[in-house]
C-alpha cells in the first residue's frame, strides 16, 4: 500500500489545498473539533470525531434554492444553481462515511436532488481508520468496521505513516494526483494497529448492541409500545440529536422576504420540533411522544423497510454525547428490546 510519512502530511495538505478546497477536522477548542477549510498551519484534531457530522458538505444546514425578484407587481424567478467546485474532505470516520451512502439513498433516488448530487459529484471523501474508539461508539452494531473506513479513499495510521487506499474511481484519481508524495510501504505495523483496534471494539460498553430485533418488519411490534411514554417523557423537543446526526436528512423549505425579493431556501428540520411536517390542516404528530417515536421508528423501522434493510443510524455516538437530557437511540433500542 502507498503511504506518506506523518511528518510530510501537512506538506501534502498544502499541495492539495493549492489545487482545490481541502477540509480537515481541527480543534475549535479543547474537546470540540470541526471541519474547517485547510490553511497552512492548521493542525488535525486529536479528537476521535467532530461535534457536527460531515453531512454538511453535501447537505448543508441551510441552502438557497431559488430567488424571486419582486418589483412592484412583477415577480421574476431566478435560478441560482451553479456548478460546485471540486473539494476534498480529509479525515472522515467510517461512521460518517457510511452516512453518505444512507443520504445517497434518499437524495440520489428519483427524483434526484440536484443540489445534493452537485456537491456529491464534486467532493472526494478521504476517510481515516479509527484506532481509539470512544465508549459511545457502536458503529459495529450497524456492521461498520471502523478500521476499514471506506469513502473514496481510505487512510490508515500506523503511528508513523498514513497509508492511502483508493476505493473508488474518484479515489484512484485522487491518489494518482498525489502520487508524488507517496511511497510504497509495508503494512505489518498497520495490521497490528488494526487488530488492536478491533479488540477494543469488542470490549466497548455497547459492543453487544444488536439490530436483530429491529428492521422493516417491526412496525406493529413497536409502534404502540408502552415504552414510548416513559422514553419520551424527558425529551425537551430540541433538535440537538437531529442536527449532530450524520444521517438525519429531513428538511423544510422556507421563504425569506428580503424586502426586494424572496429567497427560497431549505433548512434542516427536526422531527422533534412541534412544527415538523406541519401542513395546512395542522400537525400530524401532535405530542412529543409521537415526534420522539417518529425519530427512532424512522431510523430503526421505516428506513430499513424502504431501503433494503439499511438502518438510519451509523452508531457514531454523537447524540449520546450531546443530548441535553441524555436520551438516545441506544436507550431506546434497549428499552424496546426489553419487552
Amino acid at each position: 500500500m502507498q503511504k506518506i510519512s506523518k511528518s510530510r502530511l501537512y506538506e501534502l495538505f498544502d499541495a492539495i489545498a493549492a489545487k482545490q478546497s481541502l477540509y480537515i477536522p481541527t480543534d475549535r477548542e479543547a474537546g470540540a473539533a470541526e471541519y474547517r477549510k485547510y490553511e497552512s498551519g492548521m493542525k488535525l484534531t486529536k479528537e476521535l470525531n467532530t461535534v457536527r457530522s460531515a453531512k454538511d458538505f453535501f447537505f448543508p444546514q441551510t441552502e438557497n434554492l431559488a430567488d424571486f425578484k419582486i418589483e412592484g407587481k412583477t415577480i421574476e424567478v431566478r435560478d441560482i444553481r451553479e456548478e460546485c467546485e471540486d473539494f476534498v474532505i480529509f479525515g472522515v470516520r467510517a461512521c460518517d462515511a457510511r452516512s453518505f451512502t444512507i443520504l445517497d439513498k434518499v437524495f440520489l433516488c428519483e427524483p434526484v436532488d440536484s443540489f445534493y448530487k452537485n456537491r456529491r459529484d464534486h467532493g472526494t471523501v478521504i476517510t481515516m481508520a479509527c484506532t481509539r474508539p470512544a465508549e459511545t461508539c457502536f458503529c459495529k452494531t450497524f456492521g461498520i468496521d471502523p478500521t476499514v473506513p471506506g469513502g473514496d479513499v481510505s487512510c490508515f495510521d500506523d503511528g508513523e505513516s498514513i497509508f492511502f487506499l483508493a476505493n473508488t474511481e474518484k479515489g484512484e484519481r485522487f491518489v494518482e494526483s498525489i502520487s508524488s508524495f507517496l511511497e510504497d510501504g509495508d503494512t505489518d505495523r498497520l495490521m497490528e494497529v488494526q487488530t488492536r483496534a478491533r479488540e477494543i471494539m469488542d470490549k466497548l460498553p455497547l459492543a453487544k448492541l444488536s439490530t436483530e430485533n429491529f428492521g422493516g418488519d417491526k412496525l406493529n411490534e413497536y409502534f404502540n409500545s408502552d415504552k414510548w411514554a416513559e422514553l419520551s417523557e424527558a425529551c425537551l423537543g430540541c433538535g440537538t440529536c437531529t442536527f449532530v446526526c450524520p444521517t438525519c436528512q429531513c428538511y423544510d423549505i422556507k421563504d425569506f422576504n428580503t424586502g426586494h425579493g424572496i429567497k427560497r431556501f431549505r433548512c434542516w428540520d427536526s422531527c422533534m420540533y412541534s412544527d415538523f411536517t406541519k401542513m395546512a390542516h395542522g400537525n400530524p404528530r401532535l405530542t412529543q411522544l409521537e415526534r420522539f417515536r417518529q425519530r427512532f421508528m424512522h431510523k430503526l423501522v421505516y428506513f430499513p423497510a424502504n431501503n433494503d434493510g439499511e438502518f438510519g443510524c451509523v452508531g457514531c455516538g454523537r447524540c449520546l454525547a450531546k443530548c441535553p437530557i441524555s436520551m438516545n437511540i441506544v436507550k431506546v433500542m434497549k428499552a424496546l428490546e426489553a419487552k
Partner: protein
C-alpha cells in the same frame, strides 16, 4: 386579494411645491395590491373625499391610503368618508407627506423619494389592516371642575344650567380665585367683587353644584366618560355643615400674627380665619401651622366661643371617590416670584410692590381700607413708577419667554385709578411695547395717557435703589429721548409675569394630558379645538391654558362647559377600537401584561382547552376589557410569547412598515 386605492393630495402647493405628487401616485400605483392611484388638489375637500368614496364603490377597494397631511389632522375625515362609502373606517391609512415631508424638505427629488417610501409603508400597513368595530362605553353624567376661580365657577354654572351634576374642587378655603383679590376690572372699571361674588353665591346655591373647598385631586383613573377621581378634603378643623360663618372665632382667636395670603401678606389674620367677607363657603378654617391648640394643645378659645359647636380639632383629611364623565381643568395662574430680580429691590424695599399687591392696597377691603398708602410708613405716595414686562418676554431662566398679556391693561387701569383718586400723584409707566388688542382696550390706554396724564416712557427700568430718606431712586432709559432717567419715586409697582399654578404639573400627569414647556396645558388644536386637551374627556378652562384676561377666561369657561355638556349629553361614547387582545392559544397566563397595564384592563380567566391528545386542559389566560383598554401597547412588549397584540398597530403591521422603509 387586496384592492388598495392610493390618493395623493397636493394640498394646494403645500405638498405639490416640494413633492412631485404625480410621481408619487405613479410609483405607488405599481405597488402590489394597489389597483388605483390618483392625485388631487385637495383630498380633504368635498370633491376630494368624493373621489375616494367613488373609488371605494367602483373599484371595490379593500384598503385606502391617503398621502396627505398628518393623520392627526384629517385621519378622521377620511375614515368617515370611507365609512360612508361602505368601507370599514379602519381600513384607511394616512401617509404623512406634508408635515413630515414636503414642509421640511426643499429638494424635490429627495422629498419625492421620501414621500414614495412613506406611501409604500402605508400601503404595506393597510394591506394588513383588519376591519375594526368600535365598542360603546357608558358616560357618567357628572362633571368635575378642578379650580374654583372665575373660570371654574363659570364652567360649573354652565354645566349645572344644562342639567348635569358638577363638582368643583378648590384647594383654598374659598372659591373665587384671583378675581376675588382684584379691585376693579378693565376696561370698564367696574368693581370685581360686585360681579364675581354673585356668581360665587349662585354656584354655592345651585343644587347641581357641589363645592369641595380646601380639597385637592389625589388620583385620577379611568377614561373619557368614566373617570374615577379621588379627592382629598383637607382637614379644616371646622365642621362645614355646622359653621355659620359668624366670624366670632376669628375675632376671639388670640393668634393674630398670621400673614394674610388674601391680602398678599400685606397684613395679618388670625389662626382661625375666613379669607374674606364674601367667601364661599363662608366657613372658618384653622391654620394648623399657627393654631396654638393644634400645636401645643393649649387654647381652645374658638371652640369655646362657637355656639354652633363646629370646631373639631380632631378632624382628619378624608378621601372621597367619585365617578365623572368629564373633567374640566381650571387651575389658573399666579404671579411669578421676583426673588431673582435684584435690580428692582423687591425683597429689600417694602414700597416696591407687585401689581396684585397694589390691587389689595387700593381695595376697600384691603389692609388700608382702600386708601393708597406706602406699606413702609403709611404715607401717601406722590410719585409712583410702574414697570412693565417684569419677567415676561424674558427668555433666560429668571423669567418667562411669553407675553403675560394682561399687564399692559391692568397697569393702565392702576395708573388711571391712581391719577383719578389722587391727582397730585405723578405716575410713570415704563414699557417696552404697549399691547392693547381687545375691545375698547386701546381707547382705555389712550385715556390713561391723554385724559389722566400718565407718563408713558418707552424704555426699561435698569435699577431701583431704596434711599436713606425713604425715597426710591429709579434709574431707567427713555429710549425715545435717548437719555437715562433717574426718578425719585415713592413707590414702584412691578407688573410681574404670570405663570400656571404649581399644582398644574402633577395634575397633568394624573390626567395624562400634555403641557407645554411653560406648564400651560396644551390644547388639542391651537385653533380648532382650543378648549379640549388631547386627552378625551379632559377640557381646559381659563389661564391654565395660557395667559388670559377675565372676559376671555369667562368665554373659555363657557366654551369648555359647552364641550363637557356635549359629552355628558351622550348616553354612551364610542371607544377607540385600537385595543389590545390576547391570543388565548399562545397566552401563558404569566401576568406580565397585567403588571404593565396602566388601566387595569387585563384580567385572567381559567379556560378549558382541548389538547392535541384529545384530553382537555384548564389554563390561565389573559383577557382584555376593550372598554377599559386605551391601546397603549405596553402589554404587547411585556408578553414574551407574542400572544398580546394591538389592533390597528399590530406587530405584523409595524414590521411591514419597517420592512417597507428599510427596503
Amino acid at each position: 386579494m387586496q384592492r388598495i386605492g392610493v390618493f395623493v393630495c397636493h394640498c394646494g402647493t403645500n405638498i405639490a411645491a416640494t413633492v412631485d405628487v404625480k410621481a408619487v401616485a405613479e410609483a405607488l400605483g405599481h405597488e402590489a395590491g394597489v389597483v388605483i392611484a390618483q392625485d388631487y388638489q385637495y383630498m380633504c375637500s368635498e370633491s376630494g373625499q368624493e373621489l375616494v368614496k367613488s373609488a371605494i364603490r367602483e373599484q371595490k377597494l379593500t384598503g385606502v391610503v391617503i398621502c396627505s397631511c398628518s393623520p392627526r389632522m384629517h385621519e378622521n375625515t377620511f375614515r368617515k368618508a370611507a365609512a360612508s362609502a361602505g368601507l370599514n373606517p379602519y381600513l384607511v391609512e394616512v401617509a404623512n407627506i406634508r408635515e413630515q415631508c414636503s414642509w421640511i424638505h426643499k429638494d424635490i427629488a429627495t422629498a419625492t423619494e421620501k414621500a414614495i417610501i412613506l406611501g409604500k409603508a402605508a400601503v404595506a400597513k393597510v394591506a394588513l389592516n383588519t376591519p375594526l368595530t368600535s365598542m360603546e362605553s357608558p358616560v357618567v353624567k357628572r362633571a368635575l371642575v378642578i379650580g374654583g376661580g372665575i373660570a371654574g365657577i363659570q364652567t360649573a354654572l354652565d354645566i349645572a344650567e344644562a342639567g348635569f351634576d358638577v363638582d368643583i374642587v378648590e384647594k383654598n378655603p374659598t372659591i373665587g380665585g384671583k378675581m376675588a383679590q382684584i379691585d376693579k376690572t378693565f376696561p370698564t372699571l367696574d368693581c370685581a367683587a360686585c360681579i364675581l361674588t354673585p356668581k360665587m353665591v349662585e354656584a354655592s346655591q345651585n343644587e347641581r353644584i357641589t363645592i369641595h373647598s380646601f380639597s385637592e385631586v389625589e388620583d385620577v383613573k379611568g377614561f373619557v366618560g368614566n373617570f374615577t377621581v379621588k379627592i382629598k378634603k383637607k382637614a379644616r378643623f371646622v365642621d362645614e355643615t355646622k359653621c355659620t360663618g359668624c366670624g366670632l372665632c376669628t375675632e376671639k382667636c388670640p393668634m393674630k400674627k398670621v400673614p394674610n395670603e388674601f391680602n398678599m401678606g400685606l397684613d395679618n389674620r388670625s389662626a382661625i380665619y375666613i379669607p374674606f367677607a364674601q367667601a364661599v363657603p363662608k366657613v372658618a378654617t384653622i391654620d394648623p401651622n399657627y393654631c396654638m391648640m393644634l400645636k401645643t394643645g393649649k387654647c381652645g378659645v374658638c371652640s369655646k366661643v362657637c355656639s354652633a359647636g363646629a370646631i373639631d380639632y380632631k378632624q382628619q383629611d378624608t378621601i372621597i371617590e367619585q365617578q365623572y364623565g368629564a373633567i374640566v381643568v381650571a387651575t389658573g395662574f399666579n404671579p411669578i416670584k421676583l426673588d431673582k430680580y435684584d435690580e428692582f429691590a423687591y425683597n429689600q424695599c417694602p414700597d416696591v410692590v407687585t401689581s396684585l399687591e397694589l390691587e389689595r392696597l387700593m381695595n376697600a377691603a384691603g389692609p388700608n381700607g382702600g386708601t393708597l398708602l406706602r406699606p413702609s410708613d403709611k404715607t401717601h405716595p406722590h410719585t409712583i413708577v410702574f414697570v412693565q414686562c417684569v419677567g415676561s418676554r424674558c427668555d433666560d431662566e429668571k423669567g418667562k419667554p411669553y407675553c403675560s398679556k394682561i399687564c399692559c391693561m391692568y397697569t393702565a387701569k392702576h395708573a388711571m385709578l391712581i391719577r383719578e383718586k389722587y391727582p397730585d400723584t405723578e405716575v410713570y409707566v415704563f414699557y417696552i411695547d404697549v399691547r392693547t388688542p381687545g375691545k375698547n382696550f386701546d381707547e382705555f390706554y389712550r385715556r390713561a395717557v391723554e385724559q389722566y396724564n400718565v407718563h408713558y416712557i418707552k424704555g426699561m427700568v435698569g435699577k431701583v435703589t431704596p434711599k436713606s430718606d425713604g425715597k426710591i431712586d429709579v434709574q431707567a432709559s427713555d429710549l425715545l429721548a435717548n437719555e437715562q432717567l433717574h426718578i425719585n419715586a415713592d413707590m414702584v409697582v412691578l407688573a410681574a409675569a404670570i405663570e400656571p399654578d404649581k399644582t398644574a404639573r402633577p395634575l397633568a400627569t394624573m390626567l395624562t394630558t400634555q403641557m407645554d414647556t411653560n406648564d400651560f396645558f396644551t390644547e388639542a388644536h391651537p385653533k380648532l379645538r382650543p378648549v379640549e386637551s388631547a386627552t378625551a374627556g379632559i377640557f381646559l378652562s381659563g389661564a391654565c391654558q395660557g395667559p388670559k384676561d377675565i372676559p376671555e377666561t369667562v368665554a373659555q369657561g363657557s366654551a369648555a362647559a359647552a364641550k363637557a355638556i356635549g359629552l355628558l349629553c351622550k348616553n354612551s361614547i364610542t371607544c377607540n377600537p385600537c385595543t389590545a387582545h390576547s391570543d388565548e392559544l399562545m397566552c401563558n397566563g404569566c401576568s406580565s401584561c397585567e403588571k404593565v397595564c396602566p388601566y387595569g384592563a387585563i384580567t385572567y380567566i381559567d379556560k378549558e382547552f382541548r389538547m392535541p391528545d384529545r384530553t382537555t386542559k384548564i389554563r390561565r389566560v389573559a383577557s382584555v376589557n376593550p372598554a377599559v383598554c386605551q391601546g397603549c401597547g405596553a402589554c404587547t412588549v411585556a408578553c414574551p410569547s407574542g400572544a398580546m397584540d394591538l389592533s390597528g398597530f399590530s406587530n405584523s403591521q409595524i414590521m411591514a412598515e419597517v420592512d417597507a422603509i428599510c427596503k
